[in-house]
Symmetry: C2
Subunit: 189 residues, 2 copies
Amino acid sequence: MARAGVTVERLTLAAAELADEIGMANVTVAALARHFGVKDASLYFHIRNGQDLRVRVALLALGELADRVAAALAGRAGKDALVAFANAYRDYARRHPGRYAAMQIDLDPETAAASAGVRHAEMTRAILRGYRLSEPDQTDAVRMMHSTFHGFVSLETTGGFRHTPRTADDSWSRTLDALDAVLSNWPPA
Amino acid sequence: MARAGVTVERLTLAAAELADEIGMANVTVAALARHFGVKDASLYFHIRNGQDLRVRVALLALGELADRVAAALAGRAGKDALVAFANAYRDYARRHPGRYAAMQIDLDPETAAASAGVRHAEMTRAILRGYRLSEPDQTDAVRMMHSTFHGFVSLETTGGFRHTPRTADDSWSRTLDALDAVLSNWPPA
DNA sequence: GGTAGTAGCCTAGCCACGTTAGGCAAACCA
DNA sequence: TGGTTTGCCTAACGTGGCTAGGCTACTACC
């Protein structure tokens, strides 16, 4: 019985990679156990249950995405920052569809508060500094931005844009133009 | 063996209602069979398999939503139409989270082409007539609109807006203002 | 360097779910 | 009235989630 050397970290990483390959819905404890050449039951020594595993993948993804966004944002402001943020976001989602899907699961408040989601919120607000919006417009703008990004990426990955010839890239670029325009000229209440 | 009177239509409707109550992920063939007081295997006389069932729920939802949107849109134009469309969309998604989730599954091209998704596309483009956009801006604007709606509703239902005191309703209303503004003044390429 | 503890893995076993195959009975139709 | 179809059944197999309890390899400490 040579030990397989399973750790929570390796499990989470493997689960994330598996999710990107075969979809989050198909990431099962059993499949993960096979990947490590170990019996299913053995994994429960490292994780509480399947949901626990999914939450770990979500937290991993949140952290990775926050890192990428932060790197993309460095030294930029205004529309430059907006576009950098947006592209980093979309790029991550497309490269890591499984991880991105995991990010959408509903974290309980404490977990969410301790996650990299907080960094996301801070960075999103940082972008808006270039547009000089004050509350509550700022919150509304943050929500609209996030909605647009998530909505676009989500529809794109589920094939929502396949029915029209125009490329998603082109529409994305123009959507960012539009977003910049409306943030620059936010309508009065 | 009194016959339970199961039909594809009743199955689909029950699955949709079950989805709204307990979430699409928890709608299983077994649960549905229990609901009809029938054995699991019996349902395979009416549906091909579980995926088939989910597709049927998605098509049902697409049709229902298209009906509601069409009703909301009747006799309206411009921002009025935009807001009516958006509210009908969000309202449906919130009242029927399970059905809405089902709508996101990836339909194969033929099924999609025969679905009410086509009516959605037509209605969305109809709204844009009030904003006098020509191609390819129109396609980009349609995609941005849809992204914003879907993204907002999706984030709202997964609890993405819980971390800030401002109500989702307020942000929604302002997001529609912003969308109207940018559609009225679509940036040049 | 022996030995106690514990960490890491295993087998066995349970339950839920998806799906197929084949059987029987109720409803319909001639 | 008898045959056909339709609707449901039981039986069975495979996959997956999870728990309980046991064995073994490493670790630490005397």
